[in-house]
Every structure is written in structure tokens, then in C-alpha cells.
Subunit: 474 residues, 2 copies
């Protein structure tokens, strides 16, 4: 729809005027390349920016957006490059706007149990700072050591605590936003109830950088739970493990903080990547990591024992309880490093993010098995079993040529997404559509739904300047 | 912007063709008048429909909207008429679309802890049905005996359990929506995580019937808590009571289900309305109702005792614990009937819905006192102290003439909202903007914020057919 213009040396000079020469990268291709990708391995989802700019304030971002609208240049905003859908990648060139310098915690407001932070703060740093005050950011995702808070909000990141605590969006009550036009808006505030017009805060959350650039984020916190216990439960096979997951909630009656699962291949790959021994896991084909938190250690221990008994009555072969932080970290490191471990052994793979209604989780595994047989490749699986969000990972068969892989992959994904849709599921639970999944959006959303979304994008960004080419093409 | 057309006998006949003659009210002015108002007392916020239609299916609603777009006739949708902002009132005439016949629970899905219902189900009936299955709809508001689920979603209703459970929107994961154009969309599903494009579900929630008509609502449920305890804590004055509220959460460290408060005038008025004795409440000037729930009765009793001790250490004069359902109902009836009781004694009053950051609650009372002195009228106050949502009620001074009241009221509200805004608050926490508060929206939102909302309305409803004149005028 828009005829974009190129970034000329004159434009680069104007950008230097806004933020200072030091914070504009223009001529050095190697420097620009650093900003050309996120954690999606496939190169076809990478893209080179024409210029990189690192503003340090709301006002600077506002000026950049006004310039970009005037000159018709796309602006992809970018965080920590830890995304898993190409959401922050400059697929149409333009002005890559990195929020890396806007990394301050502006306020920890204990009386209101809220904090205000900038988008470029590393989520782990934010999380640690509020924990010091006895507070807890319950929305944090798996990649917390690297990701930025702004990216969490832009993607509505999930993670392992969603069953009990929900996802990032639940904790965002206010946003200062530079709109695509360059105007600055403030939606919401430090309020837990607010019906003053449309819920612009939750429209912005998860909009993948296409509707506005967040410059201040108000985060609702909860009291830091006084105790938590992690369990690792071993099963002979994945189906038996997955079958018990919904029943832990409905039959045992406990809502754990998280229920993660891994198949044998995932555990083995991750343990090797970490140099952990596999001795204690032998004979097992599937694993659940279950975390329970609360304020009363005895009560949560009893809940864990109930869960353990239920699991062994329903096919588990063993269960370990980890009460010390060191033991807990050992368990979680295996799960957290799964994606990294797979990428290390094979860059020709795609980490998927399907999500289904909780009760249909057991039906996903036969689908993955059928597809891996049909297309003769591997689809190991791990993820957030408790909330139906499964990171099936399609891995290239080493016997296939690169051309075969490129030809098969869209067929595998089309089949997979179509089957998941039949279960009431969708293509992304927490990673986003971005650049990587936009071609598949029509498999799970109809024309009316997509057109409604596009009309909102057009209304707020008539020139299609902010992060074009993500979620859908206009 | 639009030149609306009148509902002619020919249009009425076309509407009869869609839903059947029995479900179209056209000629009988008395019948139409039933649909001219909600619970807002002031007549200037009422409005007569030209025709009332009672569809019974998504398809019928779709046809009505297509007709209305073709003929350029406004369609205000309406639920139980229990609203408190004029959101469902036909202020521009047109086709009043009542969802009263669409009152079915379509599914209670225990395995996914979700239910699917139509918009016209009475929230209390919905709540009772899911409780029978051991499940709990945590989003329900104070008016649950009369309101409809569809209205709860349209207004993002709050209620007394928001501190712990959040408001209605948190529990809505999917919506079938007839869009303003008449097209049918389905957003979300039975999924607890979903980032497939923009969060249209949460944009629809709280949109006050201006962006779509909900025809199927997917509600996330939680396990029914096994125990709950209510307490009534008596204080000499309101300020002392309000001062302890944020500290219950930050200092005692318990997140109650709800903390409601009433001043002396509210308690007395409501008790009289209900015929309850005031004996046990004498000497007290303010009251907190505190509810704590959980799965372990002993634990929550201990939490209540901790809260009771903290309150008496901080100025409370007495505290009653109500463990039996009958005692609990007695306490809650007083609070729930407050609005009704005030309306019975004086229809010349306005029930407000201000909301402020939790820590600033104590600062609201001096503002109310100052304004009641400045304007020489009464502003009794009650509400959801725990989440900062206070139902200050401006009551006409009997010595003032009707003209004085009409002249003073906008001044009082302008002053009140401006002061609340300075505290970081806003004009509505759970009742909505509707028709009643739209003139005050610019006091708490800037031009950029309002224009962003208007542009979304224009994008989804270019003819401004669906519920025009609510939230803002285009």
C-alpha cells in the first residue's frame, strides 16, 4: 500500500540530530547485521536494516516516528533479539529502532505493588529488583535471562507459570506508547480496574510492535510466594505423562504454578548440552516438571505428595522432589535450555508454539507421530503441558537435501496447524506470529477476523510505517 | 457523521421477517418505554427506541445488523438494563436489540474448566450452574442477581472479588461476535494462551456494545474454593478504616477476596431498606467487609484472625467473623443493597464509580468532604476499597431546587474527576462511560488517547451504526 523511501545519508544525518551521532549506525554493514535477526534460525526470516538508531527517551522516539512518517520509511522496533517469530526483524529495511538504551526501572511502588520500567530492561534484572522488595513479577517467560520487558509485553510472552499466574498481559496495567504517528499516548495507569473507554492497554499487549512503541510500562506485582517446590516425575512414555496433566488440576484439585514436559530426546539433548548426567533418568521416556508455590511450605509439600501419588497411580515410574534452590535450578536448567540445545545440534529445525485446549493435549502426540512418519523427519516435543502450549520442534532429517527440507517444511506446518485448529487450537501461544507464521494465519483465522485486525492497524498506522510485514501484510 | 434514517413501518415489517412478529415491538409506546433506560436514575440519560427486536440466534442478529447498515439506522444492543452508565440505552432511537431470549448455557466443559454461554443468561444462573459442577465464575459483579453475562462482558464488570480474582475480562477467552457490519467473527477460543494476532477478545471486553454484539461467550472457570470466611470490622470513622486497607495486603501479607467499605450513612440506609437491626453496629462510623477464601478452612480462619488483630491494633473498635452462609449473606446483603437503598430514599443522586491507585484511597475521603462542603450536599461513600474503586454517591440537598441541582452536578463531577485524576485515578472502574460520563472523558484522557479509540470505532463501524453516542461522539 505504501511506497517506502530509502534511508539516504541526509535521513541518517537527521536521525543523528535526534539522538546523537554515537547512537546511529549507518555505514558499517557488519554492525547493521547484528540487528538483522532474532532467535529464529532460518535465514529467510532475517532482514537487514538500512540504519540502526538507539534513542534514549520518549521524545526521541516520537521525533523518529514523525520523521519516518514524513519520509515514508518503515520503522521496525527491536528489543533483545530473543524473539522466536521474527517480530523484531527489519524485513522491509528501514530504520531499526533498538530500545536497548531505555533500560531503567523508574519506580518500584511497594504501596501499590506496582513497578514502572522502560522497555529495554532485561526481564531478569527487573524480576530480581522487585524480588528484593518482596514482590514478584509473575508474568516472566522462559528466556528471562536475555529477553527485555518490552519484548515480553509486545509478544504477550507466556512461560512456565501461566496455569496459575496467567501470561504477561495480566500484569500490565498501564503503558506510555509512542503511536505510529509519533504522538505520545498514555493508556491505563496504576489501577487494577479501569473501564475508561476501550482497553487500549490489552490491545497494545501482544501487538508485536505494530501498533505502538512502549516507552513506559506499568507492571502489577504480587506478593513474593514464601515457598515453592519443584518435582520431576518420570514416565515410561510421553502419552502416559501427557494423559495425567489435565487430571492433576481436575482430579487432584491443585493448580500448580507450572507443568512442563519433555520427551526423552529433549531431555537427553538438553542434559548433554549442559553436561548433566543422565543416570537418574534412565528407563524413562518422558518427564514432567511440576512446580507448586504458596505461602505455607507444609501445605505445598502435601500438595506435591498428592500429585506424586496420583502420578504413580497413573503410570509414573518415579518422582523426585526438589526443595532446595540448587536442586530446583538443576531441574529447570534442563527445561530452559531445551531450545538452545536443539539449535546447537541442528540449525535446520523450527521451534513451534502450538496451543490447544487443555483437555486435548493427549491428542496432540498422535498427530506429531503421524506427521513425523508421513514426512520422514523428527518432531521432538516439550513445553508447557499445563496450559496446552507445546513446543513441537520439527527437525530436518539428515538424509534429506536442503531443497527437500525447504519443500517439506511448509507442508508439515500446514498439516500440523490444520490438525491443531481442529482440536480448538491455534498456531501461537506465546511466541507470536511475526514474520515467521504470517503465511499460516488464514489456517486458524477467517477473513472477517483478519480483516478486523487489519482495519485496526490501518486506523492507527495509516502509512503502515511501524513494523510492517509482521502478523499480516496489508 | 452519519445521517440516520427513521424506522418506518416497512423497516419494522422487514424486522418481523427476520425474527417473527412476536419478537418485534413497534407501535405500543408503553412497551417501548420499558427499554428506554437502565439503572441510571436521571431521566436525561434515558432514551426511547423506535422499535425493539428480540432475536434468538447469531444469524438473526447478523441479518439485523446488515439491514441497519443498509438503511442507516442505529442499533443499540441491550441486556438486563442493570447498567449504571446508560450503556444500553437507545439515545439516538433506532432498533433496540435486546438479547433477552439468548439466555442458554451451551456447554459446561469440566475437563477444560470452561463454559460457553449466550449473552442473555442471568449471571447468577450461570454462576449457580457452574458451581454445581464444582467450578467458580470468579468475575461476577455485585448485581449478579439481575445482570446478564453479556452485559458483564460488554462493561468489563468488576465487583467485590477483583483484588484476588481480577475483573470479568480475565475470565473471557473467546467470543463469537456479530460485527457492526453484520459479519460474524470468532475471536479466541478455549485456550489460556493465545497470541494469534491482536487481542480482539480484550478489545471487545468493555467496549460497551460499540464494537460488536457478543453471541457466544467462552468463560474460563476456576476450581470452586472449598471455604470462605467473611468479617465485618467496625471503625469509629471512615478515614481510620480506609487507612488500614492497603496495609492489609502489604503489611499482613494476605490478599483477601474482597475488601468492601461503607460509611455510617450507607450502612444505616441499607439496613433500614432491608429491615435489619442496627443494634450491633452502634458507635461505629465506618465498616469494612473482608472476605477471605481458600481450600483450607483453618488457614483462612488464621488469616482472618491476623487481619482482625491488625485492624484492632490500627483503630478498629470491633470485628465479627461470619463463618455460616446465613451470617455471611446478612453482611453482604447490606453492602449489595446500598445502591438500591439510596435510590429508594432519593432519586436525585448520582452513583459514581471512581477508581484510584490503592495507596491513594485514604486521600479520596478529604476530597469528598471538601466537595460536599463546597457545594453543600451529601456525598456518602461505599465500595470496593481493596481495589481502589469507590462508589461515591452525590446526593441532592433537599434544600436545593431542581435547577440548582442540575447546575451544581456537572461542577461537582468536574471537580471530583479532576481531583481523582491528580491521584492517578479515573472516572470509571467498572460501570463504564456509556452515555452518562462521556462528557467527562476529556478530563482523564488526552486528545491522542481518545482519537486512537475513535479511530478503532470508525475502522470497525464506518457507518457508526452500533450503539452510537456511547463512550464518545464521533
Amino acid at each position: 500500500m505504501s511506497a517506502y523511501q530509502k534511508v539516504t545519508p541526509e535521513i541518517a544525518e537527521q536521525l543523528r540530530q535526534i539522538v546523537g551521532a554515537k547512537y546511529v549506525l549507518f555505514d558499517d554493514r557488519e554492525q547493521l547485521k547484528d540487528y538483522s535477526h532474532d532467535e529464529v534460525a532460518e535465514e529467510k526470516y532475517h532482514g537487514m536494516p538500512e540504519v540502526v538508531i538507539k534513542p534514549n527517551s520518549t521524545e526521541e522516539i516520537s521525533e523518529i516516528m514523525k520523521l519516518a512518517n514524513r519520509e515514508m520509511i518503515p520503522v521496525p522496533p527491536q528489543g533483545a533479539k530473543s524473539g522466536l517469530s521474527g517480530g523484531g526483524v527489519p524485513v522491509m529495511g528501514g530504520i531499526l529502532l533498538s530500545v536497548e538504551r531505555m533500560n531503567r526501572i523508574l519506580e518500584i511502588d511497594k504501596a501499590n505493588m506496582m513497578a514502572v520500567a522502560e522497555p529495554g530492561i532485561i526481564t531478569n534484572d527487573f524480576s530480581a529488583a522487585v524480588q528484593k522488595e518482596g514482590l514478584f513479577f509473575a508474568g516472566y517467560p522462559m528466556s528471562l535471562h536475555t529477553c527485555y520487558l518490552g519484548g515480553n509485553v509486545a509478544e504477550n510472552a507466556g512461560g512456565g507459570k501461566a496455569i496459575k499466574y496467567g501470561v504477561t498481559g495480566r500484569y500490565i496495567t498501564g503503558l506510555e506508547v509512542v503511536m505510529p504517528s509519533g504522538e505520545v499516548a498514555f493508556f491505563g495507569g496504576k489501577r487494577v480496574k479501569d473501564v475508561t473507554g476501550y482497553n487500549m492497554v490489552q490491545l497494545m499487549v501482544g501487538s508485536e510492535g505494530t501498533l505502538g512503541i512502549f516507552t513506559k510500562i506499568i507492571v502489577k506485582l504480587v506478593p513474593l510466594p514464601k515457598a515453592k517446590i519443584d518435582m520431576m516425575v518420570l514416565f515410561e512414555d510421553l502419552q502416559t505423562a501427557i494423559d495425567v496433566v489435565p487430571k492433576i488440576m481436575t482430579d487432584v484439585g491443585v493448580i500448580p504454578t507450572g507443568i512442563e514436559f519433555m520427551d526423552q530426546l529433549t531431555l537427553e539433548t538438553s542434559c548433554k548440552h549442559l553436561g548433566q548426567s543422565l543416570e537418574q533418568y534412565k528407563n524413562a521416556g518422558a518427564f514432567l516438571i511440576i512446580e507448586v508455590d504458596g505461602n505455607d511450605e507444609e501445605q505445598i509439600l502435601n500438595e506435591c505428595l498428592d500429585i506424586g501419588d496420583f502420578c504413580t497411580d497413573n503410570g509414573a515410574i518415579d518422582a523426585f522432589v526438589a526443595q532446595t534452590p540448587a536442586d530446583q535450578e538443576k531441574i529447570w536448567a534442563v527445561r530452559r535450555n531445551a531450545a538452545e540445545a536443539f539449535k546447537a545440534i541442528s540449525p535446520r529445525q523450527t521451534l513451534e508454539d502450538i496451543v490447544v485446549p487443555m483437555s486435548t493435549i493427549p491428542q496432540v502426540l498422535p498427530i506429531l507421530k503421524k506427521l513425523s512418519e508421513k514426512y520422514d523427519l523428527f518432531i521432538p516435543c516439550y513445553g508447557h503441558a499445563g496450559d496446552g502450549n507445546l513446543h513441537a520442534t520439527v527437525v530436518k532429517n539428515p538424509d534429506h537435501s536442503e531443497e527437500q527440507w525447504q519443500e517439506l517444511l511448509p507442508q508439515v506446518l500446514t498439516d500440523l496447524y490444520s490438525e491443531i485448529y481442529k482440536l480448538g487450537g491455534t498456531i501461537s501461544g506465546e511466541h507470536g506470529v511475526g514474520n515467521k507464521r504470517k503465511q499460516y494465519l488464514p489456517l486458524v483465522l477467517g477473513e472477517t477476523e483478519i480483516e478486523a485486525m487489519k482495519s485496526i492497524k490501518r486506523a492507527l498506522d495509516p502509512n503502515n510505517i511501524l513494523n510492517p510485514g509482521k502478523i499480516f501484510d496489508l
